[in-house]
Subunit: 339 residues, 2 copies
Amino acid sequence: MKKTELNELRKDPLLGRWVAVLNRSLGPADYTVSSPEDHEKNCILCQGRETEVPGEIASVRGRDDRSGRWLTRVIPNFSPVFQIEGELGRRGEGMYDKMNAVGANEIIIESPDHSLPPEEIGLDQMTKVIMTYRDRIADLEKDHRLRYTLIYKNSGKDAGATFSHPISHLTSTPVIPKRVKEELDGAKQYFAYKERCLFCDIMKEELRFGSRVIIETRHFLAFCPYASKFPFEAWILPKRHSCAFQEILAEELEDMALILSTVLKKLKLLFRGVAFNYFIHTAPNRMPRKDHWHTLGEDFHWHLEIMPRFLKTTGFEWGSGFYILPTSPEDASKYLREV
Amino acid sequence: MKKTELNELRKDPLLGRWVAVLNRSLGPADYTVSSPEDHEKNCILCQGRETEVPGEIASVRGRDDRSGRWLTRVIPNFSPVFQIEGELGRRGEGMYDKMNAVGANEIIIESPDHSLPPEEIGLDQMTKVIMTYRDRIADLEKDHRLRYTLIYKNSGKDAGATFSHPISHLTSTPVIPKRVKEELDGAKQYFAYKERCLFCDIMKEELRFGSRVIIETRHFLAFCPYASKFPFEAWILPKRHSCAFQEILAEELEDMALILSTVLKKLKLLFRGVAFNYFIHTAPNRMPRKDHWHTLGEDFHWHLEIMPRFLKTTGFEWGSGFYILPTSPEDASKYLREV
C-alpha cells in the first residue's frame, strides 16, 4: 500500500477520551443530511390548544400582553419516565442497586408558532427560551431529592425528535448522570494539578490560536473543540467563570441568545435540515457553590454542547468510546465561521 | 395526573451508570425494525475476487482443502484510520495532547458466501470466525506500540454496516479506549472492595435467579444485563475466569460458537432484519497477566456484548450517559429464551 501521512489522535482534555482526526478532511457537501421533516398540520403544542395538553408548569408572557398569549411554555412530558412524587427508596436487589425514578420530565415549548424556531423569530424569542431554561433549573434545584437537571434539544428525526414543533426537553434525575460526573471529575483533576479552571484555559487557548473559533461575542465564545466527538460539533462557553448556568447574568442572556442563534443558523445554512442535539452541562444541584473552604465551583464551568448528527455510530464507538472525525475541528470551524 | 407506579432506576455495577427501566414493558412487536438490506450482486469480498482487494493478512482454510478455498479471511481495511507503520510521536500542541494514529484496521470476512452469515452455515464456520478473532488479537498483541485490539461487528445499516457481506472489524489502537478503561477501573474497584471478580459474581447471581438468563452452555452464559443500555442487549461470558479472550481454550471455541450463534439466531427470529453491533472486551495488551505479585488479570473477565440498535439516541443519552429501557432485561431475556 502507498504510504500516506498518518492521521492524528487527539486527547480530550476534559474526559481523557481520544479521537482520530482524518487528514483527508470532508467538506459540508460530503455529508448526507436527511430531508427536513414534513410539518404536521395538526400540532397539539401550538398556540390555541393549551387545554388539550397536561397543565402548564411555567410560561413566559409578554410584559404588556393581556391577551394571554404565551411566548414560551413548559408542560409535563406526555409519557414521563421520571415522576416528581414519591420517595427515592434506595435499596439493593441481590448484588445490584436500585431506586425509584423520582424526578421531572418537562417539555419546553420554545415558540407559539409551529414553523418558526426561536432562532428565526429573533433575539427576543431566543432570550425568552434561555430565560425559561434558567428559571426551570433554578426552580427544580430547590427539590433536595434531585441532583441534576439536564436541558437538551432533539432537532430532526435522526436526533430523536418526536415533535416537529420547536421544543426542548428537561429531565431532572435523583443521581448525577455519568457523563456529567465524568466532566466534573476531569475538570477537578485539571484544577488539582494546574490550580486553574480547565474551561477558562481552553477559552484562552482557543482565542490565542483562533483556528477553532466560530464566533466570539461580548460574553460568550463558540468554537469547535480540539477533540470533538462528531464533525461540526460546537461548544458555547461563557467568558465569565461560572459553574452554574442558572446564575447567568441579565446582561449575558441576550448575548447567549445571539451566539446560540448564530451558531444554529450557520449549521442550518451549511447543512439544510441537519439533525442536531444540544444540551447544557452545569454544576449539579446541592453543590456548595459559595463555600469558600472548597474549590467546588472554581473547577467547573457551565457550557452548551451542540452535536450535529450526520454519522451513524457503529460497534467501534460503542465498544471503545473512541470517535473518528472525518472533518477536522479547524476545517469545521472555518466553514462555520465563513458561512 | 393519575398516580402510576414509579419506574425503576438501576445501577450498572461495572460502570456506575444508571438506567431507567419502564414499568410498561414493550414487547418485540412494539419495536420498528428497518427492512433488511438488498444484497448487492457485485460484492468484492466474495470468494473468487481475492485479487481485487488489499493483500490477505490471515485466513483459515480447511485442513484437507487443496483448492485454495478459504473459510475466513482477514484483509486490511479499505480506508484505514490507523496505520501499522510509523512512530507514535506523542507530543503537545499548545495545552492539548496528540499522537499519530498508529494501529491496525482490518476486515474479518466471516464467510466466503455473501448471503450466509456464519451463524447460519453451522457451528464449524462460527468456530472458525472465533478462531480468527483469537489469532488476530494474539498476533497484534506482539506489537508493543499497540495497547488494545477491539473486535466488533456492525450488522445492518442502522448499526453502521457498510458491506452486506458478513464481516467483522478489527481496530488496534495505541491507547486503551476510554470505554475499556472504564470497565477495567470499575472491575478493579469492585475487586479492591470484595476481593472477588465482578463478572464471576454477576454470573453466579444470574444463574441463581435465572430471570435474566438467555441460555447457558457448558462453558458460557448468555444473559440480559441487570442495567442494560439498550433493550434486548445480551452479554456472553465465559464461565472460567479469564481476562484475555485470546487465551480461550480449544474446548471452549466450539461452545462459544454455539452460544453466539444461538443468541444471534434468537435475535433474528424475534426481530427480522434487526441491526446490531457486538464487540469483545478483553484485557489490554501489555497487561502482565501472569505476574503473581499483582491482581491484574484477577479482576477483569473478558466478554462479548451484543447491542440491538432499535432506538435512536437523543440529546438525553448523549448529554447524560443515562439510558432508558422500554423493555426490562427480565422481559427481554424471557422473549429470547422462549423464541
